[in-house]
Amino acid sequence: MNCLEVRQLILADPARLPQEARLHLQQCQRCYGFAEEMNQLNQDLTQAFRVPVPEELSSRILLRHALEGDQPESSPVKRRGWMMALAASLIVSLSISLWLNLNVTEDKPLLAEAILGHMPHEAAIVEQAHNLTHDKRIDQVLAQINATRQGDLGPVVYATVCIIDGMEMAHLAIEEEGVHYTVMLIPTAAFSAPTWFENDRWQGVAASGAGSTVAILTDVQRQRPPAETRQKLSDMAESYQRLLGYNAASAS
């Protein structure tokens, strides 16, 4: 076995060299040194791969399981509950009505529609779950969209980064005075004017400032009178615009 062949074996799996290659190492100082180096690399890799696992990961998985994972796929029993009915009704009758006759271009209602279509993703997790998130998690999520908190974002119960319609955005769920709000923070100005949108389950407003967009949604049914809700959502959108700072996005 020559040096080249031995080195190929070392590069493929330094920890499991065949007998023939090991004999070569006893006679070849340079290949021996190379094998040592690759074994050291393996040890360093072991450390490098061991990124910290988030605290309470198992508990969060089991909590989510308790909330929604109760039916085996093979079971003839259909998954019940409002979530499924909701998902179905959304697919059948996803209709967006713009409440205000604003000057919006074609693609913006599409993004609004995409956000509405995304809502069942959250509903499953958040409906009963509380305190699933903490400041560090929120900051990590915001960092991914190049944003930082400038103040208290309120009682956030869920935070993650979602890609909707090709756009990466922070997806937060807020629980305030028993009312559930969904906040989407988008690091681009996607709407030229405030846009209202709704389907039979959710209503929301999206508004853009300099280089960023906030969309806030809430439940249609157990809500205050429409005018009051709209006012509340507008106020929230405005305050979230103020509460977030965006770094100049280096898109390279």
């Binding site: 061991r50 990961l57 093979s74 990590q140």
Partner: protein, 172 residues
């Protein structure tokens, strides 16, 4: 299987393997938040198909396969391809990392390594998979796996050498 023993079996899987799956997900997605979501999805699916897992000794590779499929589905849904991951979603939360310089340099090098090289390396180094076992897991010829691992180490080595030259430059 009784409901209770099914639940207990599931809980053992979650507690035993969520850490492994998280790290695996982290290194194929390059992103902490996505990794956690992926592990969540994996376990939701694992529960539904739990009866398909015959032997506990196969659990880890069974779960890893589910996770890889979930990741592929994520790409289908978002119509992205792997090259997007390598370029765009290098983790930003560096404060959660082991901060020793050699480990940081290596993590950095790993993040520049294409996923197809990173993934078999992870299985081999962390979990002691043989070339044949990796070939089986990925459904690839053994030679292809050997070549990928070979290239992975060459690329890492080259990257680390470049890094050392930079440091030497700064010191001189």
């Amino acid at each position: 299987m009784s409901d209770q023993s099914r639940q207990r079996r599931y809980q053992n899987l979650v507690e035993g393997y969520s850490g492994w799956l998280y790290r695996y997900a982290y290194w194929i997605t390059g992103d902490a938040t996505t990794a956690e979501d992926l592990v969540q999805e994996t376990f939701l699916r694992a529960w539904r198909f739990l009866d398909g897992l015959q032997e506990e000794s196969a659990a880890k590779s069974w779960l890893t396969t589910i996770l890889r499929r979930e990741n592929a589905r994520r790409f289908e849904r978002k119509q992205l391809d792997y090259s997007d991951v390598e370029l765009d979603t290098v983790p930003t939360d560096n404060q959660t990392f082991d901060a020793r310089p050699e480990v940081l340099a290596l993590r950095n090098a790993l993040q520049h390594l294409p996923v197809k090289y990173r993934e078999p390396l992870l299985l081999q180094v962390i979990d002691g998979y043989t070339l044949d076992e990796i070939a089986e897991q990925f459904d690839l010829p053994r030679n292809t796996v050997a070549t990928r691992l070979h290239r992975a180490r060459q690329k890492l080595r080259k990257h680390l050498e470049g890094e050392e030259l930079l440091i030497a430059d700064e010191l001189s």
